[in-house]
Amino acid sequence: MSELNIRERQAGDVTILDLEGKITIGEGSVGLRNAIRRLMQEGKKKILLNLSGVGYVDSSGIGELVSSYTTIGREGGQLKLLNLTQKIRDLLTITKLLTVFDTYDDEADALNSFN
């Protein structure tokens, strides 16, 4: 059982990653980084992270979300967040990142927001 399980779905040109587990230092953060890197290589630049199944995030995990966001932006893509748990929302608020990310509670709304 790995710390972070990642399932990939495609909705038009948007790639949805359903994350389940922990985004913490080590396996969890590295798993997310590798997944994003792979999508970049495949030219998939519109990415929606579904965080509903993420029970735990530490500062390394928050850092990984930020890195993903800046990496994708640099390549002309977009990263958005879906279904923040209350805990993740709290951590993004504390770090003043909540307004940096585009966040959604509804998948259809999130998908429509990509251009």
Partner: protein, 137 residues
């Protein structure tokens, strides 16, 4: 009179962070902290142990990280000790400042300070860094 102490001596590697986090969550739960408080306490310990492993002991597995938990009916006190060169917590960059907001790191101490009631750093005579954190009920 109920008092509980837990002491862990763990090698400086990533897996030790999970071990320390689990021991902390177990102890805090036994002490009757709310699930909400538990999340914050566990996060603060994760961050402190991460720093001890990564910055303090520079992932040298032969150097231990020592974690102490001391619980009473009223509070939980945590200590995390490494054998590193120390640092000046007064000169750590503010991760919420405009120029740092998109950095990949630098948020651990912020989380420790946010979720614990007291956080302080010491440079003990025998060397290394000793972090003390307290959470009251």
């Amino acid at each position: 009179m109920t008092e509980e102490t837990v002491e862990l001596k763990l090698p400086s590697r990533i897996e030790s962070i999970n071990e320390a986090a689990q021991a902390t969550a177990d102890a805090a739960r036994r002490l009757g902290f709310s699930e909400d408080a538990l999340f914050g306490i566990e996060l603060a310990v994760r961050e402190a142990v991460t720093n001890a492993v990564v910055h303090g002991n520079r992932s040298d597995e032969s150097k231990p990280v020592e974690i102490g938990l001391a619980g009473t009916d009223a509070s939980l006190a945590v200590t995390v000790r490494d054998q590193g060169e120390g640092f000046d917590p007064g000169h750590v960059a503010d991760p919420t400042a405009e120029e740092n907001i998109l950095k990949a790191s630098g948020r651990g101490i912020l989380f420790m300070r946010t979720f614990m009631d007291e956080v302080s750093w010491e440079r003990p005579a025998e060397g290394g860094t000793l972090v003390r954190m307290t959470k009251r009920k």
